[in-house]
């Protein structure tokens, strides 16, 4: 190994440590007893309370919140993440299909209207959105949690760009082969977009999983909390009353909240990279 290679590796290793150390400290601290954390501060080495803490957080009622367990919150987050990602892909693919392949008046202005909604993120339209969802009676429901978020200008834009790069001859060949509009979409476009769909699903799952503001104002009942909301709430719960603060549980919850997105990216990273760089046409 040459000198420059060693230096390169040293820099990369430092970077890796810098990025992962906080996560590691959170994990290590979550495996200690609350007294240790209170007395000695954050821990760099794992302690002996791993099973105890995680069992209580995940499965025991009242272990982390008053009623809901982390397991239920994981489920809620999963539903939000998957529903959010799938909904976005379905809606934006259909929108892009209409914009690219159907000649109707105002197709171009409509596309720009969709694109301009990028300027209006949820935070800007949160009061009207809340009002609409409330009037529809969807407060504290899963539909109310997901539906207002699934329209996606970015997704529509990506799919539009992708569809426009598909050669016209494929459409013409399919027309001669007697494919209907739906047939062309289902038999040709969707399979061609496979890697693209995977990449967008992954990104959107992580984005959906990390949604904070909307679930926070949407959900009032504990059993509808997502993990991200749970983390926020647990500090309130912890500081209430005169008991010893259960910081190890907060850390455990944080670790649990980061695990699924990490797993998704790790497992699907090949697809993810392919979707971003490859064009198989």
């Amino acid at each position: 190994m040459t000198g420059s290679k060693i230096i390169t590796h040293l820099i990369l290793i430092c970077g890796a440590i810098f990025m992962t150390l906080p996560v590691w400290v959170a994990f290590a601290s979550s495996t200690h007893a609350p007294e240790t954390l209170l007395r000695e501060g954050l821990q760099i080495w794992p302690g002996g309370h791993f099973l105890e803490t995680y069992n209580e957080v995940l499965f025991v009622e009242g272990g982390v919140m008053k009623k809901v367990t982390a397991m239920q919150m994981l489920g809620n987050s999963m539903i939000l993440g998957v529903g959010f990602a799938v909904g976005k892909v379905v809606i934006s693919m259909l929108a892009a299909y209409a914009i690219v392949y159907f000649r109707f008046r105002l197709a171009v202005p409509l596309f720009w209207v969709i694109f301009l909604t990028l300027l209006l993120p949820l935070e800007v339209r949160i009061i009207p959105s809340y009002k609409v969802v409330a009037d529809l009676g969807l407060l504290d429901t899963r539909a109310g949690l997901i539906v207002p978020l699934i329209a996606s200008a970015t997704g529509t834009f990506f799919f539009r760009q992708f569809f426009r790069s598909v050669p016209d001859e494929l459409l013409e060949a399919a027309r001669l082969d007697g494919a209907t509009a739906w047939g062309f979409f289902k038999d040709i476009l969707v399979p061609l977009s496979k890697t693209m769909i995977a990449a967008i699903l992954i990104i959107m799952f992580v984005v959906g999983w990390n949604q904070y503001l909307w679930p926070l104002i949407m959900t009032t009942k504990e059993e509808n909390y997502t993990l991200v909301i749970g983390i926020k709430q647990i500090y309130q719960v912890l500081s209430e009353g005169g008991e010893l603060p259960q910081f190890q549980k907060a850390f455990a919850l944080t670790i649990l909240a980061t695990l699924p997105p990490v797993m998704v990216v790790l497992i699907f990273q090949n697809w993810f990279v392919k979707g971003l760089v490859e064009s198989e046409k």
Binding site: P167, E172, A173, G178, D187, L192
Partner: protein, 358 residues
């Protein structure tokens, strides 16, 4: 089997551009017609109008006895082979070939039988389970043809199918397409800008220029008897020699060049004399002399390019003449050759309209 009939077919785009300006054509059943012309002449548009991929602004197209102006592409009973093959990249060869049949709700056993048969005929039966990106250009071309064949259409449409192949493969596929078409005896329309392909494949050739059919006929008829300047200059390789001339009552004159043997031509207009390189010959008693500039040896024959000092071409440069000679004829550069031709084999056109006068 059925023929194709085009009556007064026009295509005008919404912005007013005219792509096709009135085409009448009667294609017999089983005939192979080649549309040939320079790029942008409308030949592909015309083909796509038969396919149903472009609308028809005016006129009528019928296949057999059925007017198909308003019939959707898939119900016209035509199959098309595209220039870039347009294979579905995510499907296997079998998938590509059977997709159209599946859409027609054909029973699976029959689809399989047809695909196997077509694959055998095209010698791609070993690749049926591969995907297009695992095939070479020639194999992809065969798959594209297979996809057309399995549909057993009334009409085959080919849109420059060989232009993405290398020269050797192109010749080979050209022969195969011709054989296949003979064997299946299906009415075919083939679009190309390559005049060799056009000459060799066509039963009849339609030379298209600026949205009109300039002339239609058997390849040799167009070669020996072109109706316009455009057809004469487009058909034939090496290209016909075109010499701008004036008629003085007895001779065709260009500067110091004066050619006898012509009569009954208008005296007051610019004319163009067309002489095919293979009708010129070295002849001591010939009509004009050239200075040899270049000799191209093609193996079986030599092409001799020479300048006629006394005459100018259409751009005002020295007139350049091409002569096709046999392989023993090897003059040195700057030699002087005296050339002659039989005026009966030469063509005379009006320069302004391109109309042939003789």
């Amino acid at each position: 089997m059925s023929g194709v009939k085009l009556t007064g077919v026009r295509k005008t785009y919404p912005n007013g551009a005219e792509a096709i300006r009135g085409v009448d054509m009667d294609i017999q059943s089983g005939e192979m017609i080649v549309f040939v012309g320079p790029s942008g002449c409308g030949k592909s548009t015309l083909l796509r109008m038969v396919a149903g991929l472009e609308g028809i602004s005016d006129g009528e197209i019928s296949i057999g006895d059925r007017v198909i102006n308003k019939v959707s592409p898939s119900e016209r009973d035509v199959a098309m082979v595209f220039q870039n093959y347009a294979l579905y990249p995510h499907m296997t060869v079998r998938g590509n070939m059977s997709y159209g049949l599946k859409n027609r709700k054909m029973p699976k056993a029959e689809i399989d039988a047809r695909v196997e048969e077509a694959a055998k005929m095209l010698k791609i039966d070993a690749y049926l389970d591969r995907q297009p990106n695992q095939l070479s250009g020639g194999q992809r071309q065969r798959v594209a043809m297979g996809r057309a064949i399995v549909r057993e259409p009334q009409v085959f449409l080919f849109d420059e199918p060989l232009s993405n192949l290398d020269a050797k493969l192109r010749v080979q596929m050209r022969i195969e397409i011709k054989k296949l078409q003979r064997r299946m005896n299906v009415t075919s329309i083939y679009v190309t800008h390559d005049q060799t392909e056009a000459m060799t494949l066509a039963d009849r050739l339609a030379v298209i220029n600026e949205g009109r059919v300039e002339q239609m006929g058997a390849p040799m008829e167009l070669y020996t008897n072109p109706r316009t300047l455009f057809v004469a200059s487009f058909i034939g390789a090496p290209q016909i020699n075109l010499i701008p001339v004036q008629f003085d009552g007895t001779h065709l004159v260009n500067g110091g060049l004066s050619l006898a043997g012509f009569a009954d031509l208008p005296r007051d207009t610019d004319l163009v004399l067309g002489v095919r390189p293979d009708t010129l010959s070295v002849d001591a008693g010939g009509q004009f002399s050239v200075r040899v500039d270049l000799v191209e040896q093609h193996g079986g024959e030599n092409l001799i390019y020479g300048g006629v000092t006394a005459a100018k071409d259409a751009e005002g440069e020295e007139l350049e003449i091409c002569l096709k000679a046999d392989k023993e004829m090897l003059p040195s550069i700057d030699d002087s050759l005296t050339l002659g031709f039989d005026p009966a084999t030469a063509f005379v056109f009006r320069k302004d309209t391109g109309e042939r006068l003789k």
